[in-house]
Amino acid sequence: MSKVIRTALFSLSAAALVTAAACGGNNASPSSSSTPPSAGSSESAGSANTDKKVTISHAVGGDSPSRDVWMKAIGEAVGVELDIQVLPLEQMEQIYKVKAGTNDLPDLISYHPGARTRDDLQAKDKLIDLSDMPIIQNILDDIKPYYVEQDGKVYGVPGQALKFGGIAYNKKAFTEAGVSIPQSLDELFAVSEQLKAAGKVPLYLSAKDSWTLQIPGLAAFSYDQLQSPGILDKINTNQATFKDAAHFIEAFDTMKKMVDQGYVNSDYLSATYTNGLQAISEGKAGMYPVLTSAFSTILDTTPDLINDVGFFPWPVEGDKTVTVWPPMIYGIPQSSKNADAVKKYIEFFASSEGQKIYFDTLPAAGVPAYKGVELDESKLLDPVKEMIEVTKTAKQFATVDFSVVANMGAFGQTVQEILMGQKSGADLAAELSDILAKNAKAKGAPGF
């Protein structure tokens, strides 16, 4: 009897093990992960005209009702359905990295371009080469290096509009205080004084969401690139460090001076990004360092206030530059069974028709990343008009954290320390140089 029970229990154990292994696995077999989509998948991908629609899985950071609308509209146009998984914004990168490591990426990837896609998602081994797609020719030349690899392969194409890093300002607050857009750091202080006198918070900072504190330095680094050509290449080969980036350092020291002079909201250490967007759109604050993707959020939450806000780059005297955040990529993992359907989706998104749907639904998205896309000027929102104007007058550089040889990590907490008087911009530059050197060495980057 006991032998029977034992046999039964061992069978149960084996069954449990098999079940557990099945749960822990993923849909992609080793062969499917390294093989281009099969004929079978292309058959299903071509089912736009059949009764059963292909469902494309997609994972994206942060909730956005507008995004869901335009994505589904494009899905309808190409005859696919979208299963959108919304990831917590602050954990999006980690989740994507783990999904890449475990071959569990969704059919349609949305991730940071350039080195981040290449390294974090192990693009060479995990993503499909899209270089045969005709839309590659339409990507704006300035941002093409972030999508086309040196060997000509393409692991992702722009999946959004261009966004910039700089300062959002409230026009009504500026008018009330009688000030105009500052063109230098001295003017930034002068404008702040007048805004303060008008009862406004001159510069809003939201240190609770510490990533927002990184923006001024990243925006100012463009001036280092403009005035010290080649500095980024030198940093990437260990011939220079962030200690050589004078404008990067100055930006953080400027923020500290603004705090010391009472130009920053008193609750800056507990203020959040949402608080900042509310303050700038309602005109309680005059200026707020942001990425221009903030305007889409303002449009989602307070559409009647969107034209009260505008944008200008980090102000440094002389020739102007602006830091671009190249749009997140659309990519396809090798493990996707719906690769052909996803390609059709991407192709349509990048077409004039797809871009029209995108910009009609999300008019504050920014500047088109594809050539030949004509925006209806009569419908342009004020902040977008200013963004377009900036691109005509300022030289564009992509943000340094997408361009460095290895991950330099988040440094918002160190900026908090600067604002609290514990450290200086130079200390931050030294720390970042050290972190970058260690990470580059661990990665085996030449020169480190």
């Binding site: 006991s2 029970i5 034992r6 229990l9 061992f10 149960l12 154990s13 449990a16 093990l17 557990a20 292994a21 822990g24 990168e93 980690q94 990295k97 783990v98 890449a100 490591g101 390294d119 974090d120 192990q122 081994d125 240190a207 609770k208 510490s210 008193s266 609750d267 250490l269 507990s270 991950n407 990590g409 988040a410 907490q413 160190t414 908090q416 320390e417 609290m420 514990q422 972190i435 260690k438 990470n439 661990a442 990665k443 085996g444």
Partner: protein, 289 residues
């Protein structure tokens, strides 16, 4: 005549779950011993000797995180045990004891994420309910920058953790209190023992096992605290509330998986060492009591 034997369940009943435990916990833990000595990018691991440990110990934030973890752990152990013991004594003979037990236990069923968001709002220096209430009753001097002042933030986090977990420790103490024979208390009363003497010489010694269990629970939770800190302060302002777990998470987020695993291994060794030492000390004290 059947031979008298003790009937026990066969160990084979545990095999399915031991297998799952082995595959999903023991094996990854053992693998981590190897990965801690590599530069690992999830697809390949290059052996790097002790460099991850050297880098972790040389990280200027490591000592801050270690000190914060120590403060958090020690204070939370003392306060959780003291508060829950006091509540247990007060509630044991209380008329509406079940009602109050439910009240005190209820924070424990909330997730740390919800509690973190809740207390971020409550402890906001300007618009938070706590400071508004303090100002309303004239205690302006107590309206502090709870979560953003470098000297206070770690203590605020301890307070939140104690508020959440006291009910759990209370339940353990109350369960132990219910095992104390009532005749022992009655005879002590007849012999003229007052409440303090009854507590000192009967209740407290009889609670020794529960006391030890609570200390060990609080020790492990304190040393491995992550969620509350991550949601409430993210380790800030600056690094004034950084703890070991949040520091390790940041290495993971940077893509330094080998370095993060080395950090986890350091925490693992600290937890095992302190838990075993504390256990031995408490067991010895229990025998003496």
């Amino acid at each position: 005549m059947h031979k008298l034997e003790r009937k026990t369940y066969s160990i084979s009943f545990a095999i399915p779950w031991l297998l799952i435990y082995g595959i999903f916990f023991v094996l990854p833990t053992l693998f981590s011993f190897y990965y801690a000595f590599t530069d690992w990018d999830l697809t390949s691991a290059k052996f790097s000797g002790f460099s991850n440990f050297v880098e972790m110990f040389n990280n200027p934030v490591f000592s801050t995180a270690l000190a914060n973890t120590a403060i958090f752990t020690i204070l939370s152990i003392i306060l959780k045990v003291a508060v829950s013991l006091a509540l247990a004594m007060a509630l044991y003979h209380c008329v509406a004891s079940n009602f109050f037990r439910t009240i005190f236990f209820s924070p424990y069923v909330l997730s740390y994420i919800a509690i973190g968001v809740l207390f971020t709002a409550i402890m906001h220096p300007e618009i938070g309910v706590l400071n508004k209430a303090l100002r309303a009753i004239g205690l302006d001097f107590l309206a502090l920058n709870w979560l953003i002042e470098k000297g206070q933030v770690i203590y605020s986090l301890v307070f939140i953790d104690v508020w959440k977990s006291a009910g759990f420790h209370l339940a353990i103490f109350i369960a132990a209190l219910q095992t104390i024979p009532s005749d022992m208390m009655e005879s002590a009363s007849i012999d003229g023992a007052g409440p303090w003497k009854k507590f000192r010489y009967i209740t407290f010694p009889m609670l020794a096992s529960a006391f030890n269990a609570n200390v060990i629970f609080a020790l492990i939770v304190g040393l491995t605290k992550f969620d509350l800190v991550f949601v409430t302060t993210g380790g800030g302002p600056g690094y004034y509330s950084e703890v070991l777990k949040t520091l390790v998470y940041k290495q993971f987020a940077m893509g330094r998986y080998g370095l993060a695993t080395a950090g986890e291994l350091i925490i693992f060794v600290i937890v095992i060492t302190l838990t075993v030492t504390m256990r031995k000390f408490l067991d010895k004290r229990e025998v003496e009591v």
